[in-house]
Symmetry: C2
């Protein structure tokens, strides 16, 4: 799918045409949010092909940098993300999609959590002094990766 | 501020110590969310210095790639972001901060909107066929950039 070319800064920032900026590596960052709760589920990248596939199928489709291939979210785990809206930021170099996460486990993360952001800095004040960078788990594991993925 | 070194994949993904991955350019992406509403306000980058400054001051501090300098959010506009929590993702190469956005305009975006994500793809079905990539504004402008910033 061909997306509109980047035009002027004014058109990109204040216009009403999607003109996504794919970086030198062909990728644009994408933030994925739960449409119902607003929880940030994950952060990944898309290239033009995966953005096109996302729009055509409504299934969130990323570009896997580690596997160097199109990554239809949930194709292996069954936890498909159905896209309900797509937004872009002021300079159109980031995408934000809101999705309905489906599948038996309702988990986005390969480690078995709903969101990849399942840990939080325990104590901001301790971190402020460099005394502790401990993380606390803020979510429960919804599936055991070993039973869902055949190989690590 | 020195952050803990990256150790094993298992420790990074399932451990309880912050081990942020600063990329080859020294940067880590950061998603900023409104702590009260969950709205994604912006997306920017931090380096170790800006993450340290963020933790020390509780003011969200990014690294401006365009100006190549530390960027204390709100230092010019007055719209400071007070950090309430900091999360990281499974492989600790992204940060997610939840902030209380302050300032008279309560706006994150230099274009005068609360969030940088003030536009949304109008019609997912039209985009799916490549028929239209029109965007619709989903937010109201809260300030006029010309009156807040002295220079563009």
């Amino acid at each position: 799918m061909n997306f509109p070319s980047r035009t002027t800064s004014n058109e990109i920032e204040l216009g009403t045409t999607l003109q996504p900026k794919f970086g030198p590596d062909g990728l644009i960052p994408c933030i994925t949010q739960d449409v119902a709760t607003g929880e940030v589920l994950m952060f990944a990248f898309m290239n033009a092909e995966s953005l096109g596939h996302t729009l055509k199928t409504k299934k969130a489709t990323y570009w896997s940098r580690s596997r160097n291939k199109l990554w239809v979210k949930g194709e292996e785990s069954g936890n498909v993300q159905w896209v309900k809206s797509l937004q872009t930021d002021c300079d159109q170099d980031v995408l934000l999609i809101k999705v309905e996460q489906t599948g038996s486990a309702n988990a986005s993360c390969h480690n078995g959590y709903k969101s990849c952001f399942y840990r939080q800095l325990t104590d901001l004040d301790a971190a402020a002094t460099g005394a502790s960078f401990a993380l606390t788990y803020t979510a429960e594991r919804l599936f055991d990766p070993a039973t869902v993925y055949k190989k690590k």
